[in-house]
């Protein structure tokens, strides 16, 4: 993956690649002008590397599965439901949750770039940002699902939601059968990242999460 390993043939000094030079230049200029603070940059990176991720969304889904009132308000206004529940960290505006049912399977994309519900899913996977996914999921969602090893019944409607900078979607997957009486913690273990993008479904009981 790394293109930055070409510093081995320098006998004395160090070497920075073109992109490393560009990022350092940008950061130095912005720091000197007071636009950014390196300590804050570190905090932002730390937040995204360690604190947010699909485990947050998984807890939201599990709560919706066990608490019908929470589910109703989640589907009405996901941001408000999550922030008012007091059970989760505060998230940003304009999150919309779309519910998978036997009649409809939802999938999320950003055809323009890569808008994604960071607060509940972390940063998007590489394939979400790729041109093939962004174009194919709109043209032929069923074949994209097949690539992910997911088959939905022929009479289930597929609906693709195109994210924007201001409107971000997460899928509320169907609760797997055979999980009656499970705790929220147990249920959250079944909720995969892909099931909240719609390129997967929740894991079956007994199947370990990938």
């Amino acid at each position: 993956m790394s293109h930055d390993d070409d510093d081995h043939d320098h006998d004395h000094g160090s070497h920075l690649t073109e992109v490393q030079l560009r990022v350092r230049a940008l950061e130095t200029i912005l720091t000197e002008k007071g636009y950014v603070d390196p300590a804050v940059l570190d905090q932002i990176v730390e937040h995204f590397e360690t604190r947010v991720g699909p485990h947050v969304g998984a807890r939201v889904v599990a709560r919706a599965w066990v608490d019908p009132a929470f589910k109703a308000s989640l589907l009405e206004d996901a941001t408000r439901a999550i922030n008012e529940s007091g059970a989760f960290e505060t998230i940003g505006d304009h999150l919309i949750a779309v519910e998978n049912t036997p009649q409809q399977h939802n999938m999320v994309v950003c055809t323009l770039c890569s808008c994604y519900p960071w607060d509940v899913l972390g940063l998007p996977p590489v394939w979400y940002k790729s041109a093939p996914y962004r174009s194919r999921v709109v043209m032929d969602p069923r074949s994209v699902l097949a690539d992910f090893g997911v088959t939905v019944p022929a009479d289930t409607r597929l609906r693709v939601w195109d994210s924007t900078a201001e409107t971000r979607y997460m899928v509320l997957p169907q609760r797997p059968a055979g999980t009656e009486g499970w705790s929220e913690e147990q249920l959250a273990e079944l909720v995969t990242r892909d099931s909240m993008i719609g390129t997967g479904v929740a894991a079956q009981p007994g199947a370990a999460r990938k």
């Binding site: 130095t28 932002i44 996977p125 590489v126 041109a131 690539d147």
Partner: protein, 127 residues
Amino acid sequence: MSANPHSKQDALGALNAIPAAERAPTFNEPWEAQAFAITLALHRRGVFTWDEWAAMLGREIKDAQARGDPDTGTTYYHHWLAAIERVVREKGITDEQTLLRYREAWDKAADRTPHGQPIELTPEDMV
């Protein structure tokens, strides 16, 4: 990474080649994380709206595709970096000349820093 022009067939085939692991590292390299954090920090300061940012990033991605970038997601942060550089220029925060001058300074700093030691910028690098 080939630079083949996009045909629909290429686009259809390429999805299968993209790693789909559930738990991939958030950033592949530290510079990606820095570019990302700089962008969020500037947004928090109100330098641009997310609409503006999405439009800018979308434009960079389209331009890169037109130049033959396969756009499989692995070059994503290259587009991101180009977009944030364009934003700071267009917002008048800095200009291309200044960006170049600081790049050269960092290059000098790297050259004089023994391998394995942290690279730091000093005023001498700026001359």
